[in-house]
């Protein structure tokens, strides 16, 4: 019997892969050609309005609302997650009730509700509600409270994913309840929390387009104002799409870095 050395073997023939690759390349080329060849996209108009001051102002407002909504929502979400895992039943019920309520009501309805709060409560702690609830504060409150309900669920799942032995070890080392949570449990839960939070961030960015109903000038609203005058609907929507995609791409890169940071000690 002759012996062979499989180190000298050639790659396996895989014609199916070649075929799939060619089909995919053709599809991509066709779509690219459609975008370039079709004059109705009016790319020159897109370029003209991409850095229009009103568009940039709208973009800035969308980013501000996203960052504020996410920050406040995450902070409240962590508190709610801890509340849902509390061993004190009333706190657990209150937290679970909050999440059920605010996850169940569409954010659009919440925005309108907060904006019209003065109708139900003309004064809050001696202040005139109409002075407190501007379109901006209504938007921030509505988006944050909605976001907090989702973040509570994400954080709760992250906390439950941490090995209970870690809590034992933290206790055994003499860490108090707060230190155990912030130094041992939460940093490890972050590995599980970050990926869905990234998606949440992105959907909140797109969700800020809802605030146009309470007269907030976000990115989508700013291009709408322009195409209502110029009738260049498609190119103006493309302007908004380009900016949404740019921001989402930057966010995704940031998410990768965060994942690497909190993966320390795990990527082996």
């Amino acid at each position: 019997m002759t012996t062979v050395d499989i180190a000298s073997a050639r790659p396996r023939l895989r014609p199916g892969r070649w075929l799939t690759g060619i089909v995919l390349a053709l599809v991509v080329l066709r779509i690219a050609w459609f975008l370039v060849d079709n004059p109705r996209f009016e790319w020159s108009v897109v370029g003209e309005y991409l850095f229009d001051p009103n568009v940039l102002k709208g973009l800035g407002m969308s980013l501000l609302l996203t960052v504020l909504g996410m920050t406040l929502g995450s902070l409240l979400g962590v508190v709610l997650a801890a509340g849902q895992l509390s061993d004190f039943a009333p706190v657990r019920w209150a937290s679970t009730g909050y999440v059920g309520l605010f996850r169940g009501i569409p954010p659009l309805v919440q925005l309108i509700f907060w904006y019209n709060l003065a109708y139900l409560a003309p004064t809050i702690a001696g202040w005139d509600t109409n002075d407190l609830i501007t379109p901006l504060t209504a938007a921030i409150i509505g988006l944050s409270l909605h976001e907090a309900a989702y973040m509570a669920e994400i954080v709760r799942a992250g906390i439950l994913a941490v090995d209970p032995g870690q809590r034992d070890a933290a206790k055994a080392m003499g860490f108090g309840a707060a230190q155990t949570f912030t130094r041992v449990v939460l940093p490890q839960a972050m590995r599980v929390i970050i990926p869905p939070t990234g998606s949440q961030f992105i959907s909140l960015l797109k969700g800020t387009s809802l605030v146009s109903v309470i007269a907030m000038a976000d990115l989508l609203h700013s291009v709408q104002v322009i195409y209502n005058v110029t009738y260049k609907v498609v190119p103006m929507l493309l302007v908004a799409c380009v900016w949404y995609l740019v921001v989402v791409t930057v966010l995704s890169l940031g998410q990768q870095r965060l994942e690497r940071h909190f993966g320390q000690g795990h990527q082996l």
């Binding site: 055994a172 860490f175 940093p187 000690g265």
Partner: protein, 262 residues
């Protein structure tokens, strides 16, 4: 001599399972007590209760004469707050079967975090002490590794050093070698042997009978939540009195080595 740790008629129930059924145990300063017994006999529950990781249902435990977990407040005996229990726990060290090192910190930080954050030790001093402890368990050069980069035996040695970093009055070991590959057991036992010789007060739950025989000042045999027999290793292994202990030991040594008429 006053005992460092004293347990009086300690009871613990999980559902309808009586895990500890009136355990009395007293540990003197510098004494090494090894707890043996079949699985499910309550050994691990006992050390978890002594360390207050699991609350007990009845009986009492004292550390240096101080009642653990409860105190008289407004004329009645009441449970202490979690913060007060944490304070008591800080005087005791624990080594777990599954190591439970903090995976997101380096080995060095695993050893320095509690002394710095909990005991208020200066970071530089904590670092020096941690490096000395790592040297002592033979891992001086792995200070900057992450736990998952180490073998099981190395991780357990780090866990022992971590528990020592807070200068505990007493150390508990909950089956410290049971999760290890057989060839890694000896390096961990060597560290524990060294610790016992240095005068540390230790309560060790283990299935390593040779270790118990060699290192223990006193052996405790538990079965069904009770301490069935206690005495020096020579008596426990050489002349076991209770039939249950004899049956238990026969599984390790073979029936012929155990004198049936003892």
């Amino acid at each position: 001599m006053k005992p460092v740790l004293q347990a009086v008629r300690v009871r613990k129930r999980f559902g309808d399972h009586q895990a500890l059924d009136g355990v009395d145990l007293s540990v003197e300063e510098g004494e090494v007590v090894v707890v043996i017994g079949p699985s499910g006999s309550g050994k691990s529950t006992l050390v978890r209760c002594l360390h207050q990781l699991t609350p007990i249902d009845g009986g009492a435990m004292y550390l240096d004469g101080e009642l653990l977990g409860h105190a008289v407040h407004r004329g009645h005996l009441r449970p202490l707050s979690e913060a007060a229990i944490t304070k008591q726990r800080r005087r005791m060290g624990m080594v777990f079967q599954q190591f439970h090192l903090f995976p997101h910190w380096t080995v060095l930080r695993n050893l320095t975090e509690a002394p710095v954050r909990v005991h208020g030790v200066a970071p530089a001093a904590a670092r020096d002490r941690a490096l000395a402890l790592l040297e002592r368990v033979g891992l001086g050069e792995r200070a900057n590794a992450y736990p998952r980069q180490l073998s099981g035996g190395q991780q357990q040695r780090v866990a022992i050093a971590r528990a020592l970093a807070t200068d505990p009055r007493i150390m508990f070991f909950d089956e410290p070698t049971s999760a290890l590959d057989p060839e890694l057991v000896d390096e961990v036992l060597a560290v524990m042997r060294d610790l016992a010789r240095s005068g540390m007060t230790m309560v060790v739950v283990t299935h390593e009978m040779a270790f118990a025989r060699e290192v223990a000042d006193r052996c405790v045999f538990m079965d069904r939540g009770r301490i069935v027999e206690t005495g020096p290793p020579a008596q426990i292994f050489g002349a076991p009195r209770s039939p249950r202990l004899r049956a238990f030991l026969s599984r390790f040594t073979g029936p012929s080595e155990v004198p049936l008429d003892a």
